[in-house]
């Protein structure tokens, strides 16, 4: 475990030093500024609209930081062969990958939480109150980011180019949000083999809508309790575990020349 934490700390330092803080700062200023302008332009409760848009900004900011981190580390680790130095140490490839996941998650989680505090602070300064579901949505965002970190790094282990791993991650995020549409299609009158295929796709893709609490901040039909937290946490952990294992297998088979 010590080796894993060492890799995680190294990854954390590497990402923080690669100007990710500026990316986060620009994201905070631009996205919260946009959220504020849009809520002023709109008609209705401005603070509510701002918080809605702020949660979207948190997710977008976290995803941007993650994708840029993936691109930066692919360049240093794979293209510039920095991975040689790490794998030459007495550390297994599984420990290396787990350390990378934790390091990425520390950075992305810190950025998402930081942005959440900025949004909540601005909301309070504006005279609003922060609903409890705002913090619940932030917890769900953190779980989503853990899954995305694992997924992104697995694609990094599988991909042969930086662009490839970047695009795989982006498209998987998009497709993961279409789970609801697949569910709707399954309820339609279509051929049984298509239904079976869709069912497999539904299970294989990450269900990103599970973490999408931000779209239901004011939904009166929403039930959120211990059971939902537990199931979502187990889902995020279970899916990440499977994806991590696939990434590990790929890293074991990968030859570095």
């Amino acid at each position: 475990m010590k080796k894993v934490l060492t890799v995680a700390a190294f990854t954390y330092r590497e990402l923080i030093r690669s100007n990710m803080f500026y990316v986060w700062l620009v994201s905070v200023v631009v996205l919260s500024g946009l959220a504020m302008v849009l809520s002023m332009l709109s008609f209705g409760d401005s603070v509510k609209i701002f918080l809605d848009l702020g949660l979207v900004a948190m997710e977008m900011g976290g995803t941007i930081v993650l994708l840029l981190s993936l691109a930066v580390t692919y360049n240093t680790e794979m293209d510039q062969k920095a991975i040689f130095l790490q794998l030459a140490k007495p550390i297994t490839r599984g420990e290396y990958l787990l350390g990378r996941v934790l390091g990425f998650y520390m950075v992305v989680g810190l950025f998402v939480l930081g942005m959440g505090l900025v949004i909540a602070g601005l909301g309070v300064c504006w005279g609003g109150t922060i609903p409890g579901l705002f913090w619940a949505s932030s917890v769900y965002l953190l779980m989503e980011m853990f899954l995305l970190c694992t997924l992104g790094l697995t694609f990094q282990m599988m991909g042969t180019t930086m662009v490839g791993s970047f695009l795989y991650t982006v498209f998987t995020i998009f497709l993961g949000h279409l789970i609801g549409e697949i569910e709707w299609l399954l309820g339609q009158d279509i051929a049984s083999w298509i239904k079976t295929l869709l069912r497999y796709i539904e299970i294989v893709l990450p269900n990103m809508e599970v973490f999408n609490l931000k779209d239901r901040l004011y939904d009166p039909t929403l039930i959120l309790g211990w059971a939902q937290y537990r199931d979502t946490f187990l889902y995020a952990f279970g899916y990440s575990f499977v994806v991590f294992m696939i990434g590990w297998i790929n890293l074991e088979k990968r030859e570095f020349k």
Partner: protein, 233 residues
């Protein structure tokens, strides 16, 4: 069997088990994510520019940002209603736009109150206003404002002022009534030539309101009413 093979087989079984468990959890959570049908079978898709509606929906569902796209589209709806050029066809797309905005953001009550008030009291399209409010009540069953507005529109539609006025007065007297009900009651008084009652209502609003915007609004309507009263004694 060699210990290495046994470990490998165990790992594969564990991986398969976790995969199946996450699949089961994902399906189980689906019913939580989509507890009610999120598809709207209303024909507004045919009326609203298909390119606009399908692009918006695609972006919203692909990126998981239905609320964001809903808020952006809502600004477009306000601009549509604010553009006097659209008054030539009596804002024919207003209902469809409101309906699409509420598909994307079903818990944003302002869409229903603003849309229904404009449709009923300005454009006199009571059926569309009622349909929009019914949709809003289905998505927000605990919101009293929507039910009050629906009742008001029903009375207004049937020109049943004898029932409408006491109904609205009772709601406003209870306190914390939405501003839209004050507007409806004041307009009804004005329509019936009861300027003094309308003035008293806005004066009360000016005195009791906590919001600057509402006080400014009340002062504006008071000026208008004094002018009207002077011109039509």
């Amino acid at each position: 069997m060699a210990p290495g093979n046994r470990v490998r087989r165990g790992a594969i079984v564990l991986l398969a088990a976790v995969f199946l468990v996450q699949g089961w959890l994902g399906l189980r959570l689906d019913t939580w994510v989509h507890p009610q049908p999120f598809k709207n079978s209303e024909p507004h898709m045919a009326v609203v520019d298909k390119k606009v509606s399908s692009t918006l929906r695609a972006v919203a569902y692909l990126t998981g940002t239905k609320v964001l796209i809903g808020h952006l589209f809502w600004i477009q709806v306000i601009q549509y209603y604010g553009d006097t050029a659209n008054s030539a066809d009596r804002y024919s797309k207003l209902y469809d736009y409101c309906s699409l905005a509420s598909d994307l953001n079903p818990c944003f009550v302002t869409i229903y109150t603003f849309g229904a008030a404009a449709l009923a009291f300005h454009l006199k399209r009571y059926d569309q206003a009622e349909r929009l409010l019914q949709k809003g009540i289905l998505s927000n069953p605990n919101d009293v404002r929507l039910k009050l507005l629906l009742a008001s529109i029903n009375y207004e539609n049937s020109q049943n002022y004898a029932t409408l006025i006491p109904f609205l007065e009772a709601q406003i007297d209870q306190g914390e009534a939405p501003t839209i009900l004050v507007h409806i009651l004041a307009n009804t008084y004005q329509k019936l030539g009861k300027y003094d009652a309308a003035i008293a209502l806005w004066q009360r609003c000016l005195k009791n309101s906590d919001l600057d915007s509402q006080r400014i609004e009340a002062a504006y309507y008071l000026q208008e009413l004094y002018r009207l009263k002077k011109s039509k004694p």
